[in-house]
Symmetry: C2
Subunit: 184 residues, 2 copies
């Protein structure tokens, strides 16, 4: 048996229009005709890049993440300046700014919807290869340390729970499989 | 060279105290002594369960996701009723409510931080095995269709971009590797 699933927007109220977070409180009509409230955060979207060296290492950034009051190990990433910003140029920019790395080859490895019930953010993910190294130039309010970890060790860190960020977990596991399948 | 990364909370203002979304606008002191604004969504946390049959199939739910105006294929999941709610009982409840499935064995497969810059949500993930089947009993505002897909096909759907939800991507790829390694 298969049910009708669609919800219809009835009203939408902007609660907070911030720098990154744009919060709406909407009412919707459910498939059974009743109404419900949907609290959703609209976000311009983001790009993330897993930089893979010829030796099979991954270049990560360690960054303090205020929501968790801790430093997390992540792949380079950043939000789009606007929802029209071209994804590839944003990916190359974030990679260069956060790690100082440029690349010869950028392969799209899929999109990620981080938190589907409340957040419309989409993270567009790429693998960078053919790397060359320069100076970092992070944003004024961004403080990062760059670390290099073998891909197989990174897979172990995902499995052991040491790497917890969603885009980083997905990019590592996808890259491992794509590399084994000769797709990277 | 390694930089100090920690940020110190200076002020915190509650902007919106919703049913799921609790939005704060905080000011922090950066490692260089300057201040910055952090817009963060606090969330009670969630559990997600990948139900794996003896035949190697995964049981998914298809659900309309309002932020994306589309139906997504996901593993069963739900938010914690409070941040003190016991994770295992929440996982068993969500599995039963959304799919009608009970299980003999529940294996913890790691945590996920969906969107680390703006959201403090943690998704605690489990693999369910030894499944038995009963009736679904979703929440009043929840409309779901249950589908069964072989794990290997699900891996392909992650790689091809057909499965986009972060917890679902991670749970499928981890389960594939853990199963191959004899850990599930």
């Amino acid at each position: 048996m298969s049910f009708k699933l669609e919800e219809k927007k009835l009203t939408s109220t902007l609660i907070f229009d911030g720098k990154v977070v744009h919060l709406y409180k909407d009412t919707v009509e459910l498939p059974n005709g009743q109404s419900a409230i949907r609290e959703i955060v609209r976000h311009p979207g983001a790009v993330a890049v897993i930089p893979l060296t010829e030796e099979g290492d991954v270049i990560f950034v360690k960054q303090y993440r205020y929501p968790f009051s801790t430093v997390l190990t992540e792949i380079p990433a950043g939000k789009l300046d606007s929802s029209e910003e071209e994804h590839i140029s944003a990916a190359l920019r974030e990679l260069r700014e956060e790690t100082g790395v440029s690349c010869e080859k950028l392969t799209y490895i899929g999109d990620l919807y981080p938190s589907v019930a409340i957040l419309d953010e989409v993270i567009h993910m790429y693998c960078a290869q053919g790397l060359s190294y320069g100076e970092c130039s992070p944003d004024d309010d961004e403080f990062l340390n760059v670390v290099r970890i073998p891909l197989d060790k990174a897979v172990d860190m995902v499995l052991s729970g040491e790497i917890r960020d969603s885009k980083t977990q997905v990019a590592i596991l996808k890259t491992k499989i794509l590399k084994e399948n000769g797709k990277l």
